[in-house]
Symmetry: C2
Amino acid sequence: MVIVRSELWRDYPLPAGLAILNVDVAKGTRNALEYLLEQQHTRVALIDGPAASSSQSEQRQVYEQVLQERSLDYHYVIEAHDSRHDLESGYRACRKLLGALGPERPTAILALNDGLAIGAMRAIADSDLSVPGDISVMGFEDWEIAEFTEPRLSSVSVARAEVATVAMRALISLLQKERTVGALPLLPTKLIIRDSSGTAPRSRD
Amino acid sequence: MVIVRSELWRDYPLPAGLAILNVDVAKGTRNALEYLLEQQHTRVALIDGPAASSSQSEQRQVYEQVLQERSLDYHYVIEAHDSRHDLESGYRACRKLLGALGPERPTAILALNDGLAIGAMRAIADSDLSVPGDISVMGFEDWEIAEFTEPRLSSVSVARAEVATVAMRALISLLQKERTVGALPLLPTKLIIRDSSGTAPRSRD
């Protein structure tokens, strides 16, 4: 069996006949954040997954680390409630964030996945703010819908073709050898810049 | 086994132990169309499903029938290609439609499902037209995303709670009697008006 992106297994010995493909979430998150910082954003918030989700901690770690490297003290992480209803969770998380921070609101939001990001975009519009004029929004996973939202959603793609190829190779290898496949390379991600992200608005300070 | 909305079985005798729940697609389509006509639209196009899809013909039949009843001769049906990629199919169908019709373009579009409708909204924006200022868009099935698009998508909801209740009752009945359940009532639909539909723009003639 080949499992794609299950970091739940990270800390356990692999049962025989099992291969795990992991996406380089850390690198993807870093690329997305560094892109936002290059766009002059100094107030970047993270909409994280619900506490139980496995990859959320990895994104959060990278978020903390990158901000620290740049000596940015603006730092805001909000947890979405419910992994089954990303849109609604992203909407609520973003409304809460905008309500709590007022004029100190972020100029950019990075979300754990595109569903949360789309919910956040809706919340921003409902707060009479614009994307990306007031707040840039960056998703993750590059869902099919990302090309069709208004504005189109910038995201981090997890090169699906490559995932499929590596998964197939690992599967063949498992079938031939009937044992655990050795460590597989982390699958690369790609930053996809569309219309929901841009340069930071001029400082309101 | 209880199957929800499979009109494939409409013309065949039911095997024992099988119940089919059907949604009243015809009524839902009629309601959506009549609402658009009340909003002064006289040029309504239908983005139909791919030719193989079963409920498409029902929506198309209702579309033809309602237009005929109102003696409207504007009539345009475009078929989406691919039921697996609704967003892209809706996008392409709508681009084709706008390209082909030019100034005779519709002022309202009814789509077979919300994915096709969202693709159509993107195509309209990419043609420098606005929803609903230039073209109203109405989806079908009321997907979760419909509340989060910009603008929010008007759609026809298939009362999910009621579907679940009726499905459960049919299932229990099947388990108890171990035979085919008699004809089930068609499940009602509900028109959900959000922001993607409104009154027709003033005539451009």
